[in-house]
Amino acid sequence: MVGSARVASLAAHWWALPFEERLAVGLFLPLMLLPVAALGLGGYLLVIGERAMILAIAALSLQLLIGVAGLISFGHAAFLGIGAYAAGILASHGHGTLVLALPAAILSSALFALLTGAIAVRSRGVYFIMITLAFGQMAYFVASSLAPYGGDDGLTWPTRTLVFGTRVLKSETVFYYVALAALGGVYVLMGRLVGSRFGRVLRGLTDNERRVEAIGFAPYPYRLTAYVMAGATCGLAGFLLGNEVEFVSPAYMHWQRSGELILMVLLGGSGQRYGPIVGAMTYLLLEESLARFTEHWKVILGPLLVVVALFGRGGIAGIIERWRLGELSLAMLWAACGAIARAQAKRVMGGLRQAEAVAAGALDRAIPRSKASAAAFVARWRLSKMRVGEAVVSLALIVDRSISTTIARWRRR
């Protein structure tokens, strides 16, 4: 009896914690335990975990621009590459030691951010996107032409960065925890930053620039500082990424990589600090699992991302927040899950169409209408290993349906 009372009091303590703290535990505890799971399930898990955490750092830094400062940078991968090249070039000259390589990675990214940001941050909206894209591609082509450092083929590092002359980072477990510590540090840093005086000015500028200017804040120095901070943080991610694979190539900086980072932020949700972490993890997991499923996995990933962009306002974090605010009920989601399970059973029995209708119907009830078709799309993909043709057809159906509901809503007004 004493035991159960203790469990109850522990549970009470747990639920008394603020949501932010419970969330941090929910995010970081599994990450801390992953190496243990990797012992049983194979070291590959560790590598995926490292990669996800490193990209989460990059996504967090981009979140500072997209979610807080309202600046959509389409050249953010440049910093990933610059961080990795700075450390890699030092390593190739035999100076791959932490006290040199880490500051070099962070400072060179910060410098690039300062120089390009000084121009880019003067513009807003589409112009900012185009200018950052241009600078990103510029960095990409410069790296491609770095003949002494591998040019197009990239640069293989002689070894991972040395820590005070030792090769501790060579151990995958140690490196994993270093990446985790970096992610935790950046996560805390971003939280403090957003709530600080500086963060308040940035948020204010995003909300209503005219108002904040009239109060006496010139936008430019604040936005530029944010841009440099984001660049430097992403440089840290680049340093880790280069270390992970002991290699760096211009592909790190390609605009597709920048696009992926934006997708991670939007998929996870730019409105919440934990969004980019969830987004980076989800993106990598999707990539991994879909790639295992078919070699044409991008054909599935593409429409999925379109669906998230169309329907998932606020990304995954947005859904979680809506659920917290009671706009989505757990009971309904649970019922929907049950329906999906029953539908799965029915499908096995052979009634494919009927099962899908049941699943779609249940999801319709669980989630507001316009989002239902998107969810049904996901469900259907999970139910019936969807083929390419099917994916295209269902995407067409979703678009058709979203248009018709929009028209219906518009007519009602």
Binding site: R192, L193, G195, S196, R197, F198, G199, R200, V201, R203, G204, D207, N208, R210, R211, V212, E213, A214, I215, G216, F217, A218, Y222, T225
Partner: protein, 249 residues
């Protein structure tokens, strides 16, 4: 001997062939409430934009608190103590009412390049912000998101933000615009209390409010000031009656 807080010296502004501000000179004296009235299209908003720094005049100089501010941007003029409200309410909708004002306090209280300490718990900022909210009578709404305030409350919040800037001049751009009778009454009352402590430039359509609050009134017609004087003098001025009040009479 009262000095001029704001001095406009022959400023001109034209959009293509249209002269919106035509060699306009005006002194706003310390402590007075100076109303600027005029029919639609007289150039009131353009004038406000030039005073606050949104638009640069084509010619002429603007002096504020003894300094030439003609070439200074909006934020620098705000720093010197020029606080304004907008014709269309501009508040930070995603911030709480308190945080809206606290940000304005922050602008004049130390550096805002501080990255670690949560601004929310900075007591001096919050205390000053609460004081400003109390002055306009919406202290009870402090924890509410500004986007959820009523229209009249948003107007009062804008005034509180301006007060938190420790202003030498309050530039109020149609503070009664869009307000109902009840709200207008409350706003006039609040401004009536403020006018004893601040120098105010009031651009307003509501004639009753203007004549109740203003010490002096300037009448703007087609980019020129055709009369300046006490409300009584302006009311009886023949040129003003012809050009402006004539419509109503």
């Amino acid at each position: 001997m009262t000095k001029a807080v704001l001095r406009l010296n022959g400023i001109e502004k034209a959009f293509a062939a249209l002269k919106v501000t035509d060699c306009l000179s005006l002194d706003v004296l310390e402590g007075e409430t100076h109303a600027i009235i005029g029919p639609n299209g007289a150039g009131k908003t353009t004038l406000i934009h030039q005073i606050s720094g949104v638009l640069a005049p084509d010619a002429g100089r603007i002096h504020f608190d003894g300094r030439d501010v003609t070439d200074l941007p909006v934020s620098a003029r705000a720093h010197l103590g020029l606080a304004r409200t907008f014709q269309i309410t501009q508040v930070l909708a995603s911030f709480t009412t308190l945080e809206n004002v606290a940000l304005a306090v922050q602008a004049s209280a130390g550096s805002s390049f501080r990255f670690w300490r949560p601004a929310e718990v900075e007591t001096p900022l919050n205390a000053a912000a609460m004081a400003a909210l109390a002055t306009v009578g919406i202290a009870a709404r402090a924890p509410i998101r500004a986007g959820a305030l009523s229209h009249g409350e948003k107007r009062l919040l804008e005034i509180a933000i301006a007060l938190a800037q420790a202003p030498k001049l309050l530039l109020l751009d149609e503070p009664m615009a869009g307000a109902g009778a009840q709200e207008t009454h409350r706003l006039v009352q609040t401004l009536g209390e403020l006018k004893r402590r601040y120098t105010i430039v009031l651009v307003e359509h509501d004639m009753q409010a203007v004549f109740a609050l203003a010490d002096r009134v300037s009448v703007l017609v087609e980019g020129r000031i055709i009369a300046t004087g006490t409300p009584q003098a302006v009311r009886t001025n023949a040129a003003v009656r012809a050009a402006y009040l004539g419509h109503a009479a």
